[in-house]
């Protein structure tokens, strides 16, 4: 019993820290609410999809921005737009904020700015990926010892 409570406490602490540091926002909480008996791994699936999406989009953007002569800002913008949409769907607040800044650089056709933003996006994305994977691991541990995942409001 103590192991479970400890793990649950750890989970709650970690979750609130993610919120506090701005990695996730309320949308992520909403996603947790959608997880139930029928779709027990909803959040994990959404997160995995998001990570795949992110990687694909980041690669696209990197390729587009690499070109020295004519950068196709429209393509970059489209990718950023997609990334923004995905991140706001999952509740990845920091990624979304970077995307917003990214978009303005794209509109201004500022290659330097875009590259900087791309770097930031990549950084934020990998941070978020680590955090979420830790969170999911905690969930697995709780389930393994027979406990239930606490619902954090």
């Amino acid at each position: 019993m103590d192991v479970v409570n400890q793990l649950r406490r750890q989970f709650v602490d970690y979750y609130t820290s993610l919120h506090r540091e701005g990695f996730v926002d309320d949308q992520f909480t909403q996603l947790q609410k959608l997880q139930d008996e029928n779709s027990p791994d909803f959040v994990v699936e959404v997160a995995s999809l998001f990570f795949e999406d992110c990687e694909k989009l980041i690669n696209n953007m990197a390729r587009a921005l690499e070109q020295q002569q004519r950068v196709d800002f429209k393509q970059v913008d489209a990718s950023v737009h997609q990334l923004k949409g995905s991140s706001s769907s999952i509740g990845a607040m920091r990624v979304k904020n970077v995307c917003i800044a990214f978009r303005s650089f794209c509109e201004a056709q500022n290659r330097e700015g875009c590259l900087r933003c791309l770097q930031q996006v990549t950084h934020e994305y990998s941070l978020l990926k680590n955090k979420l994977q830790t969170l999911f691991r905690l969930e697995q541990q709780i389930l393994a010892v027979g406990g239930s995942i606490p619902v954090v409001e």
Binding site: Q30, K33, E37, E45, V46, G85, S86, A144, S148
Partner: protein
């Protein structure tokens, strides 16, 4: 004879007389001359004589008388005128001096006489002083004796030495013939001869204590002369001689309790010893006062010394006793500590040793559960997991005997499925029962609520223990488990009149009966069943193992659940029935987090608001598409997803009630879809409701949506509540 100056006398016939006168005068003169010389000589010798000038006068007087007589020697014959003149002169002088002396003597003689009286007085005084001096010397000697005696007596704290020394020293100081000490016996009614001076080992003479002479001695603090014939004084064999005087003195025997500061002057002690002292028989000695005083002082000193010795003895004895007790206590404490430490070590080691494999089993079984398993395997793994959880709980309970005993164990209440508990127990025992070829049947009453509030684990443990016992002690036959809600008349066990279950609205009493056809229990063993570690001695149980703790633990749990457990049996070989009643709570609503997903038609506040609502979602972004789908599925909708407008138009049908279109995707005109749908479904009732999902809700977007005929706009990101409310609003219209 008159001498004449003219005639020269001749030697007459009385010449002889003349001769004699002549010689006498000569000698008188001699004497008269020598006396002053002697006087001078002796006065010179003694310096003290105060009357020197009287002596001088006397001397002069005598010298002159001598001179006169000497001169008269010449007057017997014819003598010249010079001689006569000299004679006359000396006679005159003699006369003068003698008269002066006579006159002087008148003064002197009284003085001389008074000297004599003074001398007498002084002699008397000297005699008196001598006497007093003698007295003081005696007293000082007595004091010295007492000091010496006290020193001897007090130089030891051993009672026997004290008494012996007293007698010896007294005997020596006072030169006694016999000295004896009579001590009161334990009963206090007699005095026993304890010590004597001369006889080494006195025979145990006793004398009753209430003799008048003894009372007389005891009532006075002074030494009392007693008759030599009284019983206490008859210490020496009667001899021919007159026995010497005997004196007796009391010696108070003080106890520790007598030493109170306030009561010091009056020693209210009842116990005295008697000291008897006898002077030597044939001497005429008498007891002098100072000797009596000495005896009294010594008696007091002896009393003090004896009481000191007694105190010392007592305190030594007490100290020895305390030391013994201390040693014994120390030993006992060390033994107890060793035992406790051993037990704690054992518990700690066993704790760790037992828990480690348990953890491994539980952890690995749960991991195994996560893998791909066939349904049978899954069932087996779940059974393993449940059993190991139970075992882990059991280990906790067994190793925490002390927690059980002082009642600090608390139930962990939660809502659980009662039917599931019974089913699990059944599943757990089915394999064992089939091995032993026993029939097991489970009957759950229809009015038994499905869910209950209580400690699921402990309830399962109790049921399992009881059923397990039934299995253990049955070799053949059947076991039936019945569970139903106990009504008030069946709640009371006649053997436990203090058990008054009171049903209420929030609680019900679960009654479980486990009947087996096994070896049964004899009536006298029934009370012992629930005591720890006690096992019945019948042959059937000897080989069955077990710690004897099971039923005790069950009883404890049942008590915690405010219930009662008992066993009925007709006797050996007639099987037995174990019955227990526990109090469980009734849950008000079904709101456990792990409830199966039961779709219900309820208000829109319930989790499933729109059962079976067909919704079409068009979103190019995979993530947000998935999120939206999750939302709608959670609300109970039947969701179809498309990722392009063409696909959307292709799929949409009149079955779809709602179409959710993401309009903020660049390149895809969501608005166009709306127009197309409008074109497709001309009839209003066939057309699905079109809702736009957009990231910005400025006026322009809203107007555009309205213009193309959208029915609603939702701002992304969508929360569950928002989706629900929008849908319900839309569907109400």
């Amino acid at each position: 004879m008159e001498s004449c100056y003219c005639i020269e006398p001749q030697w007459p016939a009385d010449e002889l007389l003349m001769k004699y006168q002549y010689i006498s005068d000569f000698f008188i003169a001699l004497a008269y001359f020598s006396i002053p010389l002697e006087l001078i000589y002796f006065v010179k010798k003694s310096a003290v004589f105060p009357y020197k000038w009287v002596l001088v006068q006397f001397g002069a007087f005598i010298v002159l008388c001598g001179a006169t007589h000497l001169i008269s020697l010449w007057t017997f014959t014819m003598h010249t005128r010079t001689v006569a003149v000299v004679m006359t002169t000396s006679k005159v002088l003699t006369a003068v001096v003698s008269c002066a002396t006579a006159l002087m003597l008148v003064h002197i003689i009284p003085d001389l006489l008074s000297v004599k009286t003074r001398e007498l007085f002084l002699k008397n005084k000297a005699a008196e002083l001598d006497r007093e001096m003698g007295l003081i010397r005696t007293q000082e000697e007595t004091g010295r004796h007492v000091r010496m005696l006290t020193h001897e007596i007090r130089s030891t704290l051993d009672r026997h030495t004290i008494l012996r020394t007293t007698l010896v020293e007294l005997g020596r100081t006072l030169a006694l013939e016999e000295c004896a000490l009579w001590m009161p016996t334990r009963t206090g009614l007699e005095l026993q001869l304890s010590y004597t001076l001369r006889q080494q080992n006195p025979v145990g003479y006793t004398v009753p204590i209430h003799l008048p002479v003894i009372n007389q001695v005891f009532s006075s603090s002074r030494a009392v002369k007693i008759s030599p014939n009284c019983p206490v004084a008859r210490l020496r064999p009667a001899g021919k001689y007159m026995p010497g005087e005997v004196v007796a003195v009391r010696v108070p025997l003080l106890h520790l309790s007598n030493f109170q500061i306030n009561a010091w002057p009056e020693l209210s002690t009842k116990r005295y010893a008697l000291m008897v002292l006898m002077l030597p028989s044939d001497s005429a000695r008498q007891w002098h006062v100072h000797e009596l005083e000495l005896v009294e002082v010594v008696a007091d000193q002896v009393a003090v010394a004896l009481s000191h010795a007694a105190i010392l003895e007592e305190s030594t004895r007490a100290r020895d006793l305390l030391m013994e007790q201390n040693v014994a206590l120390d030993l006992a404490r060390r033994e107890a500590e060793t035992a406790i430490r051993a037990r704690n070590d054992f518990l700690a080691v066993m704790n760790h040793e037992m828990r480690t494999p348990m953890h491994a089993i539980i952890a690995l079984s749960s991991l195994l559960q996560e893998t791909e398993l066939t349904p049978e395997q899954r069932l087996m793994v779940e059974t393993i997991l449940k059993s190991s959880n139970l075992l882990a709980t059991l280990i906790n309970d067994v190793l925490d005997l002390s927690r059980l005993e002082d009642g600090s164990l608390q139930l962990e209440l939660g809502t659980f499925n009662l039917y599931a508990v019974f089913r699990e127990v059944f599943n757990l025992i089915k394999p064992i029962a089939s091995v032993k070829k026993l029939n097991v049947s489970l009957n759950l009453a229809p009015d038994l609520p499905e869910y209950a509030i209580g400690d699921e684990k402990r309830l399962m443990q109790t049921i399992l223990n009881v059923v397990g016992n039934a299995l253990k002690f049955s070799k053949e036959g059947s076991i039936s488990v019945t569970a139903f809600v106990a009504k008030s008349e069946s709640l009371r066990d006649p053997r436990a009149p203090e058990f008054f279950p009171v049903p209420s609205d929030n609680h019900f009493y679960l009654r479980v009966q486990v009947k087996d056809s096994g070896s049964g229990i004899s009536p006298q063993d029934i009370p012992k069943l629930f005591t720890k570690f006690a096992q019945t001695q019948s042959t059937a149980t000897r080989n069955s193992g077990g710690s004897g703790l099971g039923l005790a633990i069950c009883k404890r749990f049942v008590n915690l659940m405010e219930g009662h457990i008992w066993i009925e049996s007709e006797g050996l070989g007639k099987g037995c029935t174990a019955i227990f009643i526990v109090k469980l709570g009734i849950p008000e609503r079904l709101n456990g987090p792990r409830l199966p997903f039961i779709p219900e038609v309820s208000t829109s506040h319930g989790p499933t608001a729109f059962p079976g609502l067909k919704v079409l979602v068009m979103d190019e972004n995979g993530v947000s598409r998935m999120v939206t789908k999750g939302l709608l599925v959670h609300l109970g909708c039947d969701v179809t997803m498309v990722s392009s407008s063409d696909e959307c138009l292709h799929v949409v049908s009149h079955e779809h009630k709602v179409v959710l279109v993401d309009v903020c995707v660049p390149g895809i005109n969501g608005y166009e879809i709306a127009i197309r749908i409008h074109e497709k479904f001309t009839k209003r009732y066939e057309r699905p409701l079109i809702v736009a999902l957009t990231g910005n809700t400025d006026k322009v977007t809203k107007e555009k949506c309205m213009r193309v005929g959208m029915d609603g706009v939702i701002l992304k990101p969508v929360s569950l509540d928002k989706m629900r409310s929008v849908l319900s609003d839309l569907l109400e219209q």
